[in-house]
């Protein structure tokens, strides 16, 4: 086990509710390296916030271990874990100035006043809050409050930097700006960051690695590109970006046959559980997933391909999006091309195709 590594093993949380026990977090295993920016991503109620709160010590775990740098955190209360945390509501102390909010953790640690001042002033400067030391939180804009709460969390050089949906209360433009800033300062200080969000674009843009949660389970962990290019389950494929699902039949030796009769050997292959197939309304024994930008669209019929009809063409400027109705697809197919295809209009019959290596196959266990 490395110095400064967060290690989560078999972490489980069961809430006792009126309707019986509910498993909010189910056997989560994670390793986050020192200095890494790691996001916990998933829809609301998936257990990502509960996982973060257990790591913070704000929630007790039902079972499992959480260790930092090889040291078990279980016996340590939150206050002794040396963490910095940014809350969704920022939770700034309304009776303290910007400076005193940022200095709070250092004062608690009885750091000499001169050092407190030096450190906090430097950090506030770094966050662009130079002239606001004497202001109270109620006099600040949302973005400024956000920065103060980041300063407060980082002032005492915590071992881990935890962020719980920190951008949820900001407007779209500020969100983009703040997430860049959060990543910049995290890299500058080299602190391990755990970032909870439900916004996949946000997670993709800031993270070194992402853990995708669903119903308390950690579905997949990987770099943004890996999660996007090679999702191991239908859920992750569907949750991250846009994707098309084509039902298929397993034809042996890695080949699958699509509904249109076209046989391909997809670039990657993952097992398909019966429960997940049922959840997505899949009745065939295999599914091939293809991203919209990997689909090609042609006017004339071809033997190797998927026939369909263009229902709607959307010119979006940097790309053009086609909605194509297809018998061989679960839902309407989305195709995105860098520029409009000459001679393809709404109502036209077309053929869709893709480079088989861009396809991802999910194959049920009962098939050969």
């Amino acid at each position: 086990m490395q110095v400064g590594t967060l290690s989560v093993r078999g972490l489980t949380k069961v809430f006792e509710t009126k309707d019986g026990p509910v498993t909010a977090v189910d056997d989560v295993n994670l390793e986050v390296a020192s200095g890494e920016f790691f996001s916990l991503l998933g829809p609301s109620g998936c257990g990502k916030t509960t996982t973060l709160r257990m790591i913070a010590g704000l929630e007790t775990s039902t079972s499992g271990t959480i260790a930092f740098g090889g040291r078990d955190l279980a016996p340590l209360p939150s206050a002794s874990r040396n963490l910095g945390m940014v809350f969704q509501s920022y939770a700034l102390f309304p009776h303290l100035t910007v400076l005193e909010n940022a200095a709070y953790g250092l004062r608690v640690r009885r750091t000499p006043s001169v050092k407190v001042k030096e450190r906090v002033v430097h950090l506030l400067e770094l966050l662009g809050l130079g002239g606001l030391h004497g202001r109270y939180p109620s006099d600040l804009s949302g973005g400024q409050q956000q920065r103060v709460s980041i300063a407060r969390a980082l002032a005492y050089e915590p071992d881990m930097f935890l962020l719980d949906e920190p951008l949820a209360n900001l407007d779209a433009k500020l969100r983009v700006q703040m997430r860049e800033e959060i990543r910049r300062i995290q890299k500058e200080l080299g602190v391990l960051a755990l970032y909870v969000t439900h916004d996949q674009e946000e997670a993709m843009s800031v993270s070194d690695r992402i853990g995708v949660f669903r119903l308390g389970k950690l579905m997949q962990v990987g770099a943004p590109t890996e999660i996007y290019r090679n999702p191991t389950t239908l859920f992750v494929a569907d949750f991250i970006g846009k994707i098309n699902f084509f039902p298929a039949a397993s034809a042996g030796k890695g080949d699958v046959t699509l509904g249109s009769g076209w046989s391909v050997r997809p670039g990657s292959r993952h097992p398909l559980s019966a429960a997940e197939a049922a959840g997505f309304g899949v009745t065939s024994d295999a599914v091939v997933a293809v991203r919209p930008e990997h689909l090609a669209i042609e006017r004339h019929p071809a033997e190797d391909g998927i026939p369909g009809r263009v229902r709607r063409r959307l010119f979006l400027g940097s790309t053009t999006r086609y909605f194509v109705t297809c018998d061989a697809s679960l839902k309407e197919v989305i195709v995105e091309t860098p520029r409009p295809i000459e001679g393809v209009g709404e109502g036209d019959g077309v053929t869709l195709s893709f480079d088989p290596s861009d396809g991802i196959a999910y194959v049920g266990s009962e098939s050969p």
């Binding site: 109620g45 916030t49 509960t50 206050a79 009776h95 709070y104 953790g105 709460s149 005492y156």
Partner: protein, 558 residues
């Protein structure tokens, strides 16, 4: 994931044990013992073999008991009815009609709540009594004869004008907070003003009316001061209790009357619940748009005349107290013949000790209620534990108990048995404490509710201990609310009568008792002077609390 932090510290358990002990000894035990002793004949030991219904049979056999029961029901229902009727147009006008100096009007409306009603009650005799200013005027000029001020007429008049603000404040608040778009949609749908009022506005505030009316009913049923001053030989249950205790020291009989008193409250409570149902209309929305004000001339004339007229009428008793405190000679004439400070010189020798008693008894009780209320409110809001509903319920219990009932329960309980406190200051302090605990609990709860739990989590994450978090984050944030709550509790205890009159002794005579004794022996001049002192002190305290919290006086009583 609204889960709260589960703590390993022993704090909740410790607090739980202390809370259970305090509430058990000071609330549950007296109520239980009073209930039990109401089933035991006077002079018999408190034992199961002695249980009988003899105390309750009097409500069938004794004409005095029968009439007191009927009178109590009549007075309380009539007071509730008139207080509500008086309050509703004023509440509507304040919320929907342009009225100049609105915040002044709101502040004035709480004065009847701050000044104890019995202090002003005698003013009605000066005005409407047989030789009263108004009576004489009406008789000589218009030939109108008023009903006697002594009896139901005077009691209902005095109580209605003292208690209407309870309905007024809550309904005005509900109307002001109601989503203006609801009424606008009704108007768009084609409804006219009267129809909107009847089908939209009234049903929306009905639950608020019901809860305001409930408070009025409980207060009216438990008020002992006003019927003592204005009752004459017209008895209601609280004065009957006083009669039983002072006349015969019949504690068992008094307990039985108290039980009947509480039963009436429960019946009314159930009736109101049925009336308002379980529906709660939360129409608070994110919109900052204020409800539209009706600025037609007719509405403005009506609104201004009604609101200011009602306030003037309701403040007559307090004004008369202050006025007559300066009257040096006032015998056999319509108005005093000379004015001066003679009354104040008269009470100077007698006022200091009662005021001192009131202040220190109320002060100690306030500190206890505040400390206990803060801890229980914090635990109740921030921690999860089994039996929490029981804590909330128990602590709010004194809210529905008429003051005189608490008094009787304490008198019966601590007169004999394992804990004897009769005649001690502790008895009054504990009585005050229990009587006002719910207020302290509520006002601190409101303050804590304003503090985001994440602030405490943020402090702990920063490395602060629980104690450090309390000291540096939570307490500084709730301190203004705690202080305002304390001042409110303290100021209402200064003039407290219904518990005091049951529990005071020669050593612990309070200012309210001193005034009460002057009034019942018809020594109006010193009573007015002392009443003025109490009114001014309490008013200044409430103003101070209002300044400290930045809340308006009216908001503090909602």
């Amino acid at each position: 994931m609204g889960a709260r932090r589960v703590l390993r510290d022993p704090f909740p358990i410790l607090v739980g044990v202390i809370t259970a002990a305090v509430l058990g000894i000071l609330l549950i035990y007296p109520i239980g013992k009073a209930l039990l002793s109401s089933f035991v004949p006077q002079g018999e030991a408190l034992a199961l073999k002695n249980l009988s219904l003899v105390n309750f049979q009097r409500f069938v056999t004794s004409p005095l008991y029968k009439s007191a029961l009927v009178n109590s029901i009549l007075v309380s229902l009539a007071t509730t009815f008139f207080a509500t009727i008086l309050a509703l147009p004023a509440a509507y006008a304040m919320a929907r009609i342009k009225i100049p100096l609105k915040s002044l009007a709101m502040s004035l409306s709480v004065i009847p709540l701050i000044a104890p009603p019995f202090i002003g009650a005698y003013s009605w005799v000066l005005l409407l009594g047989r030789r009263g200013i108004v009576t004489v005027f009406l008789q000589e000029n218009l030939g109108i004869t008023l009903p006697s001020i002594f009896g139901p007429f005077g009691i209902i008049l005095a109580l209605s004008l003292s208690y209407f603000p309870f309905v007024f404040l809550i309904v005005q608040g509900a109307l002001a907070a109601a989503d203006p778009y609801i009424e606008e949609s009704a108007a768009i749908a084609g409804a006219r003003r009267w129809r909107i009022l009847r089908t939209i506005t009234f049903p929306l505030v009905a639950p608020s009316i019901a809860s305001g009316a409930l408070v009025v009913f409980i207060r009216a049923l438990g008020n002992v001061g006003v019927p003592s001053v204005l009752g004459g030989d017209f008895y209601v249950l609280p004065t009957l209790i006083l009669f039983q205790v002072e006349g015969f020291f019949n504690l068992n009989g008094a307990a039985a009357i108290a039980v009947v008193n509480v039963l009436l409250v429960l019946v009314f409570l159930l009736f109101m619940r049925r009336f308002s149902g379980k529906k709660r209309y939360v129409t608070l929305t994110g919109t900052t748009q204020r409800s539209k004000q009706n600025d037609s001339l007719g509405a403005r004339v009506f609104g201004n005349v009604y609101v200011w007229g009602l306030l003037a009428f309701a403040l007559v008793p307090q004004a008369m107290v202050v006025f007559s405190s300066f009257a040096e000679r006032w015998a056999g004439t319509l108005l005093p013949t000379s004015y001066g400070l003679a009354n104040y010189r008269l009470i100077l020798g007698n006022v200091l000790e009662p005021i001192f008693n009131s202040v220190w008894l109320a002060g100690v009780a306030t500190l206890l209620a505040l400390a206990f209320g803060t801890v229980t409110a914090y635990v109740s809001l921030r921690r999860r534990f089994p039996g929490k509903w029981l804590l909330d319920l128990t602590i709010m219990l004194p809210f529905v108990l008429p003051g005189i009932v608490t008094g009787v329960a304490y008198l019966t309980t601590f007169n004999s048995g394992p804990i004897v406190l009769t005649g001690t200051s502790a008895l009054l302090v504990f009585g005050y404490f229990v009587r006002r605990l719910a207020y302290a609990f509520r006002s601190v709860s409101a303050s804590i509710g304003q503090v985001d739990p994440q602030l405490e989590e943020a402090s702990i994450i920063c490395g602060a201990s629980w104690g450090g978090t309390m000291r540096k984050v939570t307490l500084p944030l709730i301190a203004p609310g705690m202080l305002a709550g304390a001042i409110l509790v303290f100021s209402t205890l200064i003039g407290e009568l219904s518990v005091t009159i049951m529990l005071f002794s020669g050593k612990t005579k309070t200012v309210s008792i001193a005034i009460f004794e002057y009034l019942t022996s018809h020594r109006i001049a010193p009573a007015s002077a002392m009443g003025t002192v109490v009114i001014v002190i309490t008013l200044l305290l409430v103003l101070l609390a209002s300044r400290l919290t930045g809340k308006s006086m009216a908001d503090m009583f909602k």
